[in-house]
């Protein structure tokens, strides 16, 4: 059995899906982030001054790019897989000889590709506002890739466990967005009171944003190795949870 064909079929289907609805998937992040750069980076940023030796505009660019990667890789998988469940066309995959790891890889790859594509669009828009030279492309790309993987997996688990469309909006609205904003997109964690600094260190998104910022402009509030280990560890845990859910058929089988 050639599983690579099944994998390619799922990934191609996912790419066509989000490209077909590009006004919903690719256009909004371009407009939203352009406004972020204009309002926060330009209008307010000029009055804020430098943070950690770089301009405020340069400082927020990595966080805004990665925030887009997080939200879109998550949104792609959670909406696509939940729709697949809702319309019952998940049965097309369950009936076919497609192993669980291929189903998971296919949907997660779709999420990663959309996350990276949106990240690239936002990065290109940022060039209109800031003159950024990538300090470490390997770290930049690997953090982007790992972050997209992690949040695609999280979106997959959310979709498997969701029982209604409300369930797929709760996590993005009440968990992901607050954690992203509190993860140091617009500020350095060192600007916070000590107690809030300690609390913020429990937020995994803080590590990813800072690692990405380090790769892009060479500035970070956290240890880079710890950021990679944390992201890698979370990916491993969420992969195992996803495979367990698929194996048991939780949320998708009777």
């Amino acid at each position: 059995m050639n599983y690579s064909i099944a994998y390619r079929t799922i990934v191609t289907k996912e790419i066509f899906r989000f490209i077909r609805i590009w006004p919903q998937t690719l256009l909004p992040p371009a407009i939203t982030t352009a406004l972020y750069f204009l309002i926060f980076g330009k209008l307010i940023g000029d009055r804020v001054g430098a943070i950690n030796g770089v301009t405020y505009m340069e400082y927020i660019v990595p966080g805004i790019i990665l925030m887009s990667v997080i939200s879109h890789s998550y949104a792609n998988v959670v909406s696509s897989f939940y729709s697949t469940k809702f319309q019952r066309n998940i049965e097309e995959l369950l009936v076919a000889p497609v192993p669980n790891w291929v189903i998971l890889s296919g949907y997660v790859s779709g999420g990663i590709i959309r996350g990276l594509l949106v990240g690239t669009v936002v990065a290109l828009i940022s060039l209109l506002f800031a003159d950024i030279e990538v300090k470490n492309p390997y770290i930049t790309l690997s953090v982007m890739l790992l972050t997209a993987t992690l949040f695609s997996l999280a979106g997959f688990i959310n979709a498997v466990l969701a029982e209604s469309f409300d369930d797929i909006s709760i996590i993005p609205n009440f968990v992901l967005t607050p954690l992203s904003y509190l993860g140091g997109v617009f500020f350095s964690v060192k600007m916070l009171p000590t107690i809030w600094q300690s609390i913020s260190l429990g937020n995994p998104i803080l590590y990813m944003i800072n690692a990405f910022r380090y790769g892009l402009i060479g500035v970070t509030d956290v240890d880079i190795q710890l950021a990679f280990m944390m992201t890698g560890g979370l990916i491993l845990i969420l992969t195992l949870v996803s495979l367990f859910l698929l194996h048991k058929g939780i949320g998708i089988k009777n």
């Binding site: 799922i10 049965e91 097309e92 009936v95 000889p97 009777n254």
Partner: protein
Amino acid sequence: MNALSIRNLKKTYNNGFEALKGIDLEVQAGDFFALLGPNGAGKSTTIGIISSLVNESSGSVSIFGHDLKAERSLAKSCLGLVPQEVNFNQFDTVKSIVFNQAGYYGTPRKLALQRTEHCLKQMDLWDKRDTVSRRLSGGMKRRVMIARAMVHAPKLLILDEPTAGVDIEIRRSMWKMMQEVNQQGTTIILTTHYLEEAESLCRNIAIIDQGRIVENTDMASLLARLHVDHFVLDLAEPLAHAPVISGYQIQRIADKVLDVAVPKEIGLNYLFSQLSAQNINVVSLKNKSNRLEQLFLNLIDTKPAGNS
């Protein structure tokens, strides 16, 4: 060789409902097999387990000799399923639904395109290949599901009420198509509430009730067990009372309509001679119900649960 072999299959749902109480079933390769039963009898659960949509509680299923647990991939490769309800993405085109399914079965792109074209033409859907599926009629959606189930050339095709809700013309064309597919060597298992459909298409039959197989035999033997035929007679003149004729049970169901139970050993000639003798003129007659329906109701009504 058995296309399907089920051993002591049990399923208890989380709410405690025991849908299957240990069924055994064998379907020969090449057969056109009917799996019948009333609503809630366990048909859909059985099909769900065979097609990996429902987890069994215990028991085993093998498809063309491949155990569904030990040789999952091989077993699944042999199977095509046409479910009861529409379950494809309503925003996808007809062609992409069928083509993608071929991909899930590992069919290379070129071959998948060829098979997609063949199946859509066979289902008379080639002209609709670029139509978004939600714009199709109910009958067309069912044919899309059949094309999708056949695109990987399965050896065993399960059709779960494929003609439910479609008009007579489409139903007849689907019967013809199913017979052609079966004649080409594909084993078919059919569930249906139209017993006339099962009677005219299927060679063997199993009836499931309350989670147990209550009958499993060939259609001819089953029909041969029917000792009494029911006929409805339309009369030329109204009658105040049903006539009494020895050997027949006659009921007056309207002024000019009689319901007659005719034992096979007596037949109709004696009935008509006695009616003529009583100056009762019959304008027309018809079967009250089809034969299988009568047997089906008898089996469901009289067989005690547990007689598998």
